[in-house]
């Protein structure tokens, strides 16, 4: 019996090899789905991310049968990322015991799949955890994508010549974070990453990420034309508590979004933290008369104002203020990575206020 079984298996391998080369019945192998985040943590795979506080990211991230192609996230410089892939073949249950696959890639791929074995242990379906080698996640913040081109190199251990081309998967769009996510964004929101990773693209240091995010928030007003400064807080429930989902929804759906410095200080804080840049916000009070400033949006223009307090992003003990531009020396600029004393000198006409407090942002909904 064992000898007959061996002969049958040998014949089948030969037959499939023939089919793979174009004989009937034509061999069909497909990639069914791909998980980029298939296990807890991110030691091996992609980070866990969510759309926002109420919406998960459906997985497997790439699942064409469900018209699904969701984004995923890595941390800059990561190597040997693993993915979990399901394959299918049309040769009937048990006809193929295993195959070897590999990929080539196009676009900004963090490695390709070197020849790896896949076992068909579930009828015509087989799954494998495959490692991306010969590359790494880029060393800077980004939002970009890649395609994989899948090839079968062996069927049941027998080399195929030419290799069987399964097809292309993608585009696999992914975020690259500066560092591991931190509370309160230990599970980053794609609703924030969609902004932050674009603003901070190609930046590899916390200081540069802070600068780009702060400027991104300030110019969000001008590019969309729908955000304006007001003195009152519209999205906070305390100096360190922001209703982030309300803000993000309003930015997308309303044409009259108002924010004040408390809103914006907390936004700089939370957007920076989302891409892995440690951040806080800082408030100083009471009594600030300013030099000429240009608050976010076009409602004010260049004005001098009198504030009871002011709040701004506080990153690496430096001011990152997305609420205004300063123009003390003839060059309008959003204050980024600015020492407190320098900032005070540029902003305040008079004596700086006596009190200040640093806050860790909380996201409330």
């Amino acid at each position: 019996m064992r000898r007959i079984g061996y002969m049958v298996a040998t014949l089948m391998i030969f037959a499939f090899s023939e089919r793979a080369q174009g004989f009937l019945p034509p061999l069909d192998i497909d990639v069914v789905w791909i998980y980029f985040d298939y296990e807890d943590g991110y030691a091996n795979d992609a980070l866990r991310i969510v759309k926002n506080a109420s919406t998960e990211i459906a997985k497997p991230e790439w699942y064409p049968a469900y018209s699904r192609n969701n984004r995923f996230a890595y941390i800059k410089g990561q190597t040997n990322r693993k993915i979990k892939v399901r394959f299918w073949h049309n040769q009937g249950e048990g006809a193929i015991n295993n195959m070897h696959v590999r990929t080539t890639g196009s676009g900004y791929y963090p490695g390709t799949i070197a020849e790896s074995i896949v076992y068909f242990t579930s009828g015509s379906f087989g799954e494998a955890i495959l490692t991306m080698t010969n590359g790494q996640v880029s060393n800077y913040v980004q939002l970009w994508g890649f395609y994989y081109y899948w090839y079968v190199t062996k069927l049941n251990g027998q080399p195929l010549d030419p290799q069987y081309y399964i097809g292309m998967t993608g585009g696999h769009d992914y975020y690259i974070l500066l560092a591991a996510p931190q509370a309160p964004m230990s599970v980053p929101w794609t609703d924030v990453l969609d902004y932050a990773c674009v603003w901070a693209r190609n930046q590899s240091t916390a200081a540069n990420v802070a600068k780009k995010i702060t400027e991104g928030i300030y110019y969000l007003g001008d590019t969309d034309g729908d955000i304006d400064y007001d003195y009152a807080s519209y999205y906070c429930t305390d100096y360190n508590k922001i209703r982030l989902m309300n803000f993000l929804n309003d930015v997308k759906s309303r044409n009259n979004v108002y924010v004040n410095c408390t809103d914006l200080g907390n936004l700089v804080n939370v957007f920076a933290i989302t891409v892995g840049c440690p951040a806080n916000s800082k408030r100083m009070w009471y009594g600030i008369n300013t030099h000429e400033i240009d608050p976010i949006g076009d409602r004010f223009g260049w004005v001098t104002v009198s504030w009871s307090y002011h709040q701004f992003g506080w990153i690496n003990n430096l001011v990152n203020d997305g609420s205004l531009r300063l123009d003390r020396y003839g060059t309008p600029r959003v204050p980024t990575n600015m020492a407190q004393d320098d900032y005070n000198q540029l902003l305040i006409n008079g004596t700086p206020p006596p009190n200040s407090q640093v806050y860790s942002v909380q996201i409330v909904n």
């Binding site: 007001d230 003195y231 009152a232 807080s233 519209y234 999205y235 906070c236 429930t237 305390d238 100096y239 508590k241 209703r243 309300n246 803000f247 309003d250 979004v257 108002y258 004040n260 410095c261 408390t262 809103d263 009471y286 009594g287 600030i288 000429e292 409602r299 004010f300 223009g301 260049w302 004005v303 001098t304 104002v305 009198s306 504030w307 009871s308 307090y309 002011h310 709040q311 909380q362 409330v364 909904n365």
Partner: protein, 274 residues
């Protein structure tokens, strides 16, 4: 919501809310004051109010048409006018505190920084440098700011506008039974989430209310950002120890504003056990 009238008055819908009266202080002039705590910060800022007679009556609705006609003649620039009609002076004062405390515009209390032209409203805060005046007269809160904040603009006309509006309110018909104010009627507030265990826990409530005129209603929790408005009575919020704690109690007390399209505001306070 924008309302263009005369020289372009913009009535914006927004917000408001609660507060604790700390003390009553007689003054040398014979006036007496009370202090209300701010809503954010630890410790919160304090705001001083003139006491007002309890029998001053209530204005049923904002006299918008009269105000329009009055200020049309004197308005030399574009202003943003907000007006809110409350069902109690307490609520109007709480709303003023909320407005002052959740804003970083430095406003001066007319008690400590009197204007040469005298008092505006029962209580008033001003920052004439940017053309901002907020005052309460009876149960009405009025806020006037310029539509654009141009440092070089002459904003002196705004004080005159505020005085005109105040005089219109003073001369408006008053009622002495708040039930005659066509304010939203709050029938019920239900907690529709699990009960909180700690401060900052999330709570979801559903407020069942109707407008006497059958119009739209708006809901917002006290001391939360002015954009955090519900139009269906469903509100999600986290409990804030600074604003929602009740002394000697293991309960939180939240206050919720409900207003209609005429900016007539009522409120409900609801205790939530831990």
């Amino acid at each position: 919501m924008k309302n263009k009238i005369g020289c372009r008055i913009i009535a914006m819908f927004a917000f408001f809310y609660v507060n604790i009266v700390l003390c009553i202080t007689p003054c040398l002039s014979g006036e007496s004051f009370h202090i209300r705590k701010g809503v954010w910060g630890d410790p919160p800022q304090e705001y001083k109010f003139r006491n007002v007679p309890e029998d001053g009556g209530f204005v049923k609705e904002f006299p918008l048409e009269t105000v329009q006609n009055k200020i049309k003649e004197n308005c030399t620039g574009n202003i943003t006018l907000e007006y809110w009609v409350y069902t109690s002076v307490d609520d109007a004062e709480m709303a003023m505190v909320e407005r002052l405390d959740m804003s970083n515009l430095s406003m001066q209390n007319i008690i400590d920084f009197p204007l040469p032209g005298g008092q505006i409203g029962d209580n008033c805060w001003h920052q004439l440098g940017v053309g901002a005046i907020q005052f309460i007269r009876n149960n009405i809160l009025v806020s006037i700011t310029p539509s654009s904040f141009d440092s070089s603009a002459d904003l002196s006309f705004i004080e005159g506008i505020a005085r005109e509006i105040d005089s219109v309110i003073v001369n408006s018909e008053k009622v002495y039974d708040t039930k005659l104010i066509l304010a939203p009627e709050i029938h019920e507030i239900q907690i529709i989430s699990s009960l909180p265990k700690n401060w900052d826990d999330q709570v979801a409530v559903k407020i069942n209310a109707t407008d006497p005129k059958g119009g739209k209603l708006f809901f917002r929790k006290y001391a939360t950002g002015f954009a955090l408005v519900s139009e269906d009575g469903a509100l999600n919020f986290s409990l804030n120890k600074n604003t929602d704690s009740v002394e000697d109690s293991n309960r939180a007390k939240v206050k919720i504003w409900v207003w209609n399209e005429d900016n007539i505001v009522t409120s409900i306070e609801h205790e939530i056990p831990f």
